[in-house]
Point group: C2
C-alpha cells in the first residue's frame, strides 16, 4: 500500500525525527535506513527522495538536536530574568528534553556521529560549543549582576552545568529508566548552585 505523498520538507523532518527516535532506543549500529523508513511508514528507497544518503540523515538529526537545545536556552532567557533561575529552569528543561529523547546526550557526547566523515565531527563540536556559549552567556550576566562568583571563568561554569546531567543521563539510559534522572538533577543542582553563587 502506497504511503501518502507529502512534501519533501515535511518528509525531511519526519525522517530526522524518526532517526532521532531510533537512535534513542537502539544505538547507532542498529540505525539502518530500512528502520528509519519503516518508522516513517515508507519504503527504504523512498528515503533517497529526500536525502542524499544515510550520512545526510545523520546530519539532519544533529541539526534537529542543536535546534532543540538552543530553543531551551532561548525559552529560559525569555521567561526568567535572574541567572540562577534561568540555569535552574534550563536544567529542568534539559532533563525533560533528554527524557523525551534519549538519543540526545548519547549523540552529542559520544561522537557516535563523528564516525562518518570528519565534517560531522566538526559540526558536532560546533553544536555543543554553541549550546555551551548560550549557557556561558547566562553565567556571565549572572557574574555581572553579582549573583554568580566571578573568580572562575564562565566557560568552566557552563561546562560543569552540562556535567550535572551527562553522567546521570547515561545511567538512566543504561538502566532502562531505573535510575531516576529527575531526582538526580534536583540533588545535584543544590551542589552546583552552592558552588557557583557569589
Amino acid at each position: 500500500m502506497a504511503a501518502e505523498k507529502l512534501d519533501t520538507e515535511i518528509r525531511r523532518e519526519q525522517i530526522a525525527e524518526a532517526a532521532l527516535q531510533l537512535l534513542g532506543t537502539h544505538g547507532i549500529r542498529q540505525l539502518s535506513v530500512a528502520a528509519v523508513a519503516e518508522q516513517v511508514g515508507l519504503v527504504p528507497s523512498a528515503i533517497y527522495r529526500h536525502f542524499e544518503g544515510k550520512e545526510e540523515v545523520l546530519g539532519a538529526v544533529l541539526e534537529l538536536i542543536g535546534e532543540r537545545l538552543m530553543a531551551n536556552v532561548e525559552a529560559v532567557c525569555r521567561e526568567w530574568t535572574g541567572s540562577l533561575e534561568r540555569l535552574e529552569r534550563l536544567l529542568d528543561r534539559h532533563v525533560q528534553l533528554i527524557r523525551e529523547n534519549q538519543a540526545i546526550p548519547r549523540v552529542m557526547f559520544s561522537d557516535e556521529m563523528a564516525g562518518g566523515d570528519s565534517r560531522r565531527k566538526a559540526k558536532t563540536y560546533e553544536t555543543i560549543r554553541t549550546y555551551l556559549r548560550g549557557v556561558a552567556k547566562i553565567v556571565r550576566q549572572g557574574q555581572k549582576a553579582g549573583e554568580i562568583r566571578s573568580d572562575v571563568q564562565a566557560d568552566a561554569i557552563a561546562m560543569l552545568f552540562v556535567g550535572i546531567i551527562q553522567p546521570g543521563a547515561v545511567l538512566w539510559h543504561l538502566s532502562d529508566g531505573q535510575f531516576d534522572i529527575t531526582r538526580h538533577a534536583k540533588r545535584t543542582w543544590r551542589l552546583y548552585r552552592d558552588a557557583i553563587v557569589a
Copy 2:
C-alpha cells in the same frame, strides 16, 4: 609472512588493547575485525582463534576499561589519606587515562557498546556503577571525617565528580586535541571542591 605464534592469553590482551586504541581514533562504526587484526599484526580470521567473534572482543574492551578505572581508584586510596586529596588525584589520573585512551569516555558514556546484545548494556551499566561506588566510598569517608559536606548524598557527589570530566573529554576529542582538557579539569576542580567541602 606468518606472525609469531603467541599464547592465546597474550593475544586476547593484545586484541582488546588494539580494539580500545582503534575505538579511540575512529568510532565504533569503523571498528572492524580486519582493522583490529591489522593493528595486532594478524590476519582477520586469526581473531577467531582467540575470540568467539566481534561481540566478545567488545566485551573484553569493556572489561579492560573497567580494570583501568578501578586501578586508579585503588591507587589514590593507597597513596593518599585525605578524601579531598584522593579525589583531586583521582581527577588527575582520570584525565591522564583519558588522554591516553580517548575511547574510554566515549565507550563508557555513550553506549556505543550497548548496541549489540543487552547483556553488554547491563555490563556497561555495572562497570560505571562500580566506578561510581569507588568514588562514593571515598566521599563517604570524607563525610565521616568532616572534610566533605554531609547534607548531600555521596552518590550525587560522586556523579558530579564524573561530570567534571565528561563534557571536557568529549570536547577534547571532538576538537582533535585543541580543547585543553587538563586545564579544564584544574579549573573545574576548584569549583567542585568548593561545592563539596564541609
